[in-house]
Amino acid sequence: MTQLFLEQALNGLQFGLMLFLLAAGLTLVFGIMDCINLAHGSLYMVGAYFVAAAAQAADSFWLGLGAGVAGTALLGLLLELSLFRQLYRRDHLAQVLATFALILIANESVRLIWGPAPLLLNPPESLAGPVEIAGFFYPAYRLVIIACGLVVAGLLYLLVAKSRIGMWVRAGAANREMTEALGINVRALFTAVFVFGAGLCALAGGLLGPLLAVQVGMGESVLILAFVVIIIGGIGSIRGALVGALIVGTVDTLGRALLPTLLRATLPADAAATLGPALASILIYLLMAGILFFKPQGLFPARA
């Protein structure tokens, strides 16, 4: 049982960290620019495709990852300059519509370029197998993801919490006008944040690609999760995004693993088998509704 628990904790951590990569960019764009970006998930998808395509071309996963992240960041730059700058000033409804349109365009373009079938992306040969830790086997590649996630989260923490750029970003999130009046080019800063967020999306997409599947529509389900994360954490807060991501990752993983067992112990087998997965899949939404009920601004509100 403890081993099951430990393994699930690792799984939850891995899932949570990847969610964090996605949520970090989203929460900043949302918090600072007050812009709902439904197309954030599309950047994740496009990023994964770029990584997969580049990895195939270069015949190296790591080269592909680097190239894919860079390519997606570039795409993010173009998007920010051409479209998002116009959207920041508009109301949420216009943002929802425009970014919904981007989802349609992204999905269909990917289908046009790479075809409707999922793309294959394999992890580096050396990481394909399991490694033994604490008496049980765990997939080596998942450990790598965890490590990458921790490193990026750590760097991001340093960047946001300790660097001057991070301070500007936080200041910009809290009060854009005042930050500008103090000589900070918030517009350029926003562009940088957006591009950075796009890069993180691609990183998550590329890292998860070998584990999941690189396919059209992969962005939408993950987008909703990322939104849940930042709502729980408080919009605009990186710390909130990290905590929210880990909560969602852990609750979802543990819920999926333990709820059926728990229900089997208390309910008839048939009911447990149906109810278990149902409850497990709505658990995080229940969590979010609950948190919003008691803390309508999320756990770490960025604006006082």
């Binding site: 999922p118 394909a128 584990l211 899949s281």
Partner: protein, 387 residues
Amino acid sequence: MLPRLTALAAALMLAGSVHAADKVKVGFVSTLSGPGAGLGVDIRDGFNLAVKQLNGKLGGLPAEVLIADDQQNPDVAKQATDKLLKKDKVDFMSGIVFSNIMLAVGPAVFQNQTFYISANAGPSQYAGEQCNPFFFNVAWQNDNLHEAVGKYVQDKGFKNVVIVTPNYPGGKDAVSGFKRYYKGKTEEIYTKLGQLDYAAELAQIRAAKPDALFFFLPGGMGINFVKQFVAAGLSRDTQLFAPGFSADEDVIKAVGAPMMGMFNSSHWAHDMDNAENKRFVAEFEKEYGRLPSLYASQGYDAALMMDAAVRDVKGNLADKKALQKALEAKRFKSVRGDFKFNANHYPVQNYYLRVIGKDGQGRVTNKTMGTIFTNHADAYAAQCKMK
């Protein structure tokens, strides 16, 4: 309004019984995008290959195959089907991969008195109480491959089996099919349909320590599951079993070596020794540059079946009764060898055990090991009262 329509239909029928049609229209709705796309694409390619070999004709009439993507979404499939039936007025329908989509589309097709030749989806409903003269399945009934695995796992004396399947009706059918022949201890794990990350489930499996694992995860789900299963080191202690379509060439191509040693059941294999099959496999490889999957073989058979029936009725497609008789007669040579249709229009056929290993050229592929069932019928035929 209604009487007028019926009158119109009657008039059309009358007209049809006098003149042979000048071409055959086939509505082909299948899953061509998304995680299940590989399946639909194979069926389509198999079907098209047959039509091509027949010089673009079915039963001697020029064939027009109208293809639509259902996106694995019943609503989309329903709309596409309505359009094919009412606007394009097709003579046959085929192509659907997933049973839930078949069930959504079926009533409209049957109501329109159009013959549906299923190249994959074989829901139990249409095998049993809701069997329909206009529905033929040239592949199987959904439970069959699961039954075959269950039989083999039972015979080999495995005692503790974990079953992994999505939490949807097809998954539940798989469990009951498997358990119809396997009587030992089971633990069932249900996943979301379309789920791609199995970390939580694999941890549960590790904790359960089964000696065998049977999974039914269609399309991309199975690919991910096998990869992650092996990456988690679980293949060392647990023998993997799956129905043939979770271990077919499309999956092997995606997963590769980790699949070696996996047992599965099938009614067809690319190494089956008959002339039709050899030709089919060779031509398919030549045309598409890959080994055909069993879906491709089913699509191929579906086209052959239409061809034979149209030829049988001499192109008089309006005589539904005659056409039904012709279809039931099954006057074509299937690539899987001989089989016949049961009263419910589902096949009675053999099921084989296959194992994945390397072939003579070093490719990872399926090898047929033996026969599990001979002339096996489905469990629902008795409930079918075909009108």
